[in-house]
């Protein structure tokens, strides 16, 4: 017998629910009464917390060595305890605006690579673990966690990956299908909301993942070979190895595996014109919109989701750390909208982050879901918070935010993958990897005056790009924002942008 049931919030269910609640439902058995509340005397000892202990100087010890191979590849080794090694090979040249051709090529590397004996192998594994990869706007990172005894073999296989791919036709099709599945799985409107909002920032305009994906099946192995030789080059690439390893041995293994890797002569500018992701213009963070952009997404159920984006300094700018602290202040500010909305029960939480994975700029991003009646207030309040934070900085709040930032930063170094990521971050900042620990002092030195200076530079006159779902026309009209409005209609297949005015 088949029992069919519909989940959801259809009208008929709503009606049935009302009936159930009013007439058909069994009464809940009452709970026993709670005991009497504690007396004021009993509560008195809990009114004042113990005072905070004085700040400690940084005494974190990290053992890090950095070397540069003659072909331009950097090698960073951090020695830790444990029995496993984490490897990350970051290739800043192999970047992609969305899941496009470079991502497809990187995934298709699993479709055959030749080893030293020129035998092709597919999706190599060490201790049954394959190489992982991700590609975004700052490049491609291959990552692998292997037993310490597998470190040399892993480096050798990574070397083959970047030097001698095969792109077997059948395997390529499988890998591209897999990428398409991944894109489709992630193509729900909520997943796309940040991407849509960011696309309103000058320089970050981009096609959707879905549209990129449709071109993937037209990439034959020869084209993938060309994308590979155009994008995978050793110059400015960085290898980070973290584990219970001897730095000199790792540098020697890296030299053997990757030292003779050089740019392919066939990768001329002309031959690669179609396959290189264009660079952002100089100082995109200074390219402001003349007024906010409001992308209103229709076709979704539920209360409004909102994402507000503002461009900020690039990760290698001296302003970046202060900008990151400002994002945390916006989330936590006592008199700020994020906190007020949460306390009023209008949201489960408003989150603010500085996203640094773009070249030449970062993005301050506010996101959250709010109840419809509070949507106008939320949007107006959060934008006002961004613009006015420079004038509302509080020294005690900044100190608390800095303490948390420090705890969080130190905590991310507790495992080898986290430390490898932190070292890559340090290198992307243009800082010496061996001096990672100094970032703690760097953060400590940022004061209110410095934060104010950075807020005035990037936030005071912000013209944000905003993406929202679930707003009615009435709410949009009464919003009071002098914004460029665009409707985005969500269907099962894709997003259709329509400029309204």
């Amino acid at each position: 017998m088949k029992q069919r049931q519909r989940i959801g919030r259809g009208l008929w269910l709503g009606v049935a629910g009302v009936c159930w609640a009013l007439a058909c439902a069994p009464a809940r058995p009452p709970l026993p009464p709670a005991p009497a509340a504690a007396s004021p005397e009993q509560l008195a000892p809990w009114s004042q917390p113990p005072p905070l202990a004085p700040e400690e100087r940084s005494d974190v010890q990290l053992s890090i060595k950095h070397a540069k191979l003659p072909n331009g590849l950097g090698v960073t080794v951090a020695v830790t305890k444990g029995t496993a090694t984490s490897l990350q090979l970051w290739l800043p040249g192999a970047r992609d605006r969305s899941q496009g051709a470079v991502t497809a090529m990187v995934n298709a590397l699993r479709a055959g690579t030749r080893d030293n004996s020129k035998e092709p192998f597919f999706n190599p594994r060490i201790a049954l673990t394959p190489i992982g990869s991700w590609t975004d706007a700052v490049g491609t990172t291959f990552y692998w966690r292997v037993p310490e005894r597998g470190t040399q073999q892993a480096l050798s296989l990574l070397g083959s990956y970047v030097r001698d791919p095969v792109f077997d036709q059948n395997e390529v099709q499988l890998q591209l299908q897999q990428q398409l599945a991944s894109i489709r799985g992630a193509s729900a409107p909520l997943n796309q909301l940040p991407q849509l909002a960011r696309s309103g920032i000058p320089g970050l305009e981009r096609p959707s993942n879905e549209l990129d994906a449709r071109g993937l099946f037209h990439l034959p192995p020869a084209t993938l070979q060309q994308i590979h030789r155009c994008n995978l080059q050793p110059t400015n690439a960085e290898l980070v190895v973290v584990g219970p390893v001897a730095p000199d041995s790792v540098v020697a293994w890296a030299t053997a595996a990757l030292g003779s890797w050089h740019a392919d002569p066939a990768a001329s500018a002309a031959a690669c014109a179609d396959w290189l992701t264009p660079a952002l213009p100089e100082h995109p963070e200074q390219a402001r919109r003349d007024r906010p952009l409001l992308l209103v997404i229709y076709g979704m159920l539920g209360d409004p989701w909102l994402t507000i984006d503002v461009p900020g300094p690039a990760i290698d700018s001296p302003d970046y750390l202060a900008f990151e602290l400002l994002s945390k202040l916006l989330e936590e500010h006592h008199a700020g909208s994020a906190r007020a909305l949460r306390h009023a029960g209008a949201t489960y939480g408003i989150h603010v982050d500085a996203y640094d994975r773009y070249p030449r700029l970062s993005v301050l991003e506010i996101r959250g879901q709010v109840e419809p009646e509070q949507a106008q207030r939320a949007l107006r309040g959060l934008i006002e918070d961004i613009r006015s934070i420079a004038g509302r900085l509080d020294a005690a709040e900044l100190e608390a935010v800095k303490r948390r930032w420090r705890t969080e930063t130190v905590s991310s170094w507790a495992h080898s993958e986290g430390l490898a990521g932190a070292l890559q971050w340090q290198l992307r900042r243009g800082h010496d990897a061996e001096e990672l620990v100094k970032v703690l002092d760097e953060g400590q030195q940022i004061d209110v005056a410095r934060c104010r200076e950075v807020a005035e530079r990037y936030l005071k006159q912000a013209q944000p790009s905003i993406a929202v779902t679930g707003l009615t026309q009435g709410i949009v009209k009464g919003l009071g924002l002098d914004a460029e409005l665009r409707q985005v209609v969500w269907t099962d297949e894709l997003q259709e942008h329509k400029k309204v005015h």
């Binding site: 069919r4 049931q5 519909r6 989940i7 959801g8 629910g17 609640a21 069994p26 058995p29 709970l31 026993p32 009464p33 005991p35 504690a38 509560l43 809990w46 009114s47 917390p49 113990p50 905070l52 004085p54 974190v60 029995t83 496993a84 201790a127 049954l128 673990t129 394959p130 991700w134 966690r145 292997v146 037993p147 499988l174 299908q177 398409l180 599945a181 991944s182 894109i183 489709r184 799985g185 992630a186 193509s187 729900a188 539920g302 209360d303 936590e332 009023a344 029960g345 949201t347 489960y348 879901q369 608390a400 303490r403 948390r404 420090r406 705890t407 905590s411 507790a414 495992h415 099962d492």
Partner: protein, 465 residues
């Protein structure tokens, strides 16, 4: 605040699998995320019954603190589903003149300040700079000492709205939560504490009051149901006096005994709760098919285990099974891999094999391939080489360094029966190979997630007994 955790290991699926794989994985919400901790720790119990677990680690200057209340969603009275979760939220609210725990933690530089309401426990946690450990201990003791006594109706109602918002944000608009609810109902019989997922439906959450929350707090937030775990950079000798100072004076609140019931000690109550864990793991049958407009498809096979067993001992053979299934499905160009997960709870465990289909591949071809691989596994079990490779993978997974918080949370896990930590070698013991019969796909509950353009906007569910 946060939802439930899950233990997850990749068998043969690459990391960039995306939301689709996550959705399939989430089909089976875990009873509990963590496997038993293998850490060498110091344990002791205060006179009021509060357990203390200490694990010093001086690598980095932080300390993770977890106070775990042995009461979770499974303790919600019938009709009050969501109550444990509401109480968890309320304990973070400002109460009259008292500053909120959140603010006081953050002032001290704490991160990860949060809590989870799981089925078996409610866990409060934070990570602090080592110098501020006293602030953390004081805050956790204060949480129990003041309870909800000073909370007024206004902030309680505001937090009520936040919980409802969380339902909308995290549960109602999240397909995987709906699927997990269906799965819990399908795996555990009516009356089992895990039969409902436990976070309540909006209707039950909507009806909750501050008085309900106060009763729940008084009933369950008592020292003999609390375990305090500390992992990180501290000296036990310096911390023990602080724990005594703040926790030793805490006492259970007096509740009137239930009419007609014999007064029980809390240990007897907990033992009675554990009765559910003695139910045998009945074979599961049938399928649950979910059609949605979401553009991903997957299939999962689920096996419930008798709770008297140590579920981790099946890791090796089931990982091998998943890898072979993944390879066969790759060869057939149906899927890119398969993986197994263990959902571990105080009262029950189950294993799940999850497969994400490649786009537009015929669904019906998958189960016969899984059955065929299973038959072949019985006929030619893994040889010494395959077993060895699997043990290496288990060893690598075991060696993964975890954050201080994750480690402290693992230590908060409760067990109805004593279990011990298994070594990677024990997780692939040759004597599990003959027992593989119990993981016959024909004896599993099958969960199918299908894409259909004609599905209702929220999805359709079909149960096939």
């Amino acid at each position: 605040m946060q939802g439930m955790h899950r233990a997850r290991r990749g068998a043969a699926i690459h990391v960039a699998a995306g939301v689709c794989a996550v959705a399939v994985a989430c089909l089976a919400a875990p009873a509990r995320a963590r496997s038993p901790s293998c850490e060498q720790v110091e344990r002791y119990t205060l006179k009021n019954g509060l357990e203390v677990v200490l694990r010093p680690d001086h690598d980095l200057p932080n300390v993770a603190i977890v106070s775990s209340v042995h009461a979770g969603a499974r303790n919600d009275p019938r009709g009050y589903e969501g109550l444990a979760h509401y109480v968890e939220h309320l304990t973070f609210r400002e109460a009259q003149s008292l500053a909120s725990a959140n603010d006081l933690y953050k002032q001290a530089g704490a991160t990860g300040v949060n809590a989870t309401t799981a089925r078996d426990t409610t866990d409060y946690f934070a990570q602090l700079p080592r110098a501020q450990i006293e602030r953390g201990l004081w805050l956790e003791a204060r949480r129990i000492a003041i309870g909800l006594d000073t909370l007024t109706a206004g902030p309680a109602e505001e937090e009520h709205q936040v919980v409802l918002r969380e339902h909308e944000l995290r549960f109602r608009s999240d397909l995987s939560h709906e699927l997990a609810t269906l799965l819990a109902e399908s795996i555990f019989p009516e009356g089992h504490p895990y039969h409902t997922l436990g976070l309540g439906k909006e209707s039950s959450v909507e009806a909750l009051t501050l008085a309900d929350a106060r009763w729940f707090f008084a009933r369950y937030y008592r020292p003999d149901r609390i375990r305090l775990s500390l992992v990180g950079d501290f000296e036990p000798g310096a911390v023990r006096p602080l724990i005594d100072k703040y926790f030793a004076g805490l006492a259970a609140r007096e509740l009137p005994p239930a009419a007609g019931a014999r007064a029980q000690t809390e240990a007897e109550v907990v033992a009675a709760e554990c009765k559910s864990s003695e139910q045998p793991g009945a074979p599961l049958h049938g399928s649950v098919r979910i059609s949605t407009r979401a553009r991903y498809e997957g299939i999962a096979f689920i096996w419930l285990l008798p709770s008297s067993e140590q579920p981790e001992r099946w890791w090796g053979i089931l990982d091998t099974f998943a890898r072979r299934v993944g390879d066969a499905l790759r060869d057939a160009k149906l899927a890119s891999g398969a993986r197994v997960d263990l959902s571990h709870g105080e009262l029950a465990d189950y294993w799940q094999l999850s497969i994400e289909l490649l786009p537009t591949q015929p669904f019906e071809r998958v189960p016969p391939i899984v059955s065929k691989v299973f038959a072949e596994l019985k006929k030619s079990p893994p040889d010494a080489g395959e077993q060895n490779a699997e043990r290496q993978a288990l060893e690598l997974a075991e060696s993964r360094e975890r954050s201080l918080l994750s480690r402290a949370l693992e230590l908060s896990q409760r067990e109805c029966r004593p279990t011990r930590c298994l070594t990677p070698a024990e997780k692939f013991s040759a004597d599990t190979i003959p027992g593989i019969d119990r993981f016959d796909p024909a004896k599993a509950l099958r969960l199918e997630l299908r894409h259909s353009v004609s599905a209702s906007i929220d999805g359709d569910v079909e149960r096939v007994p």
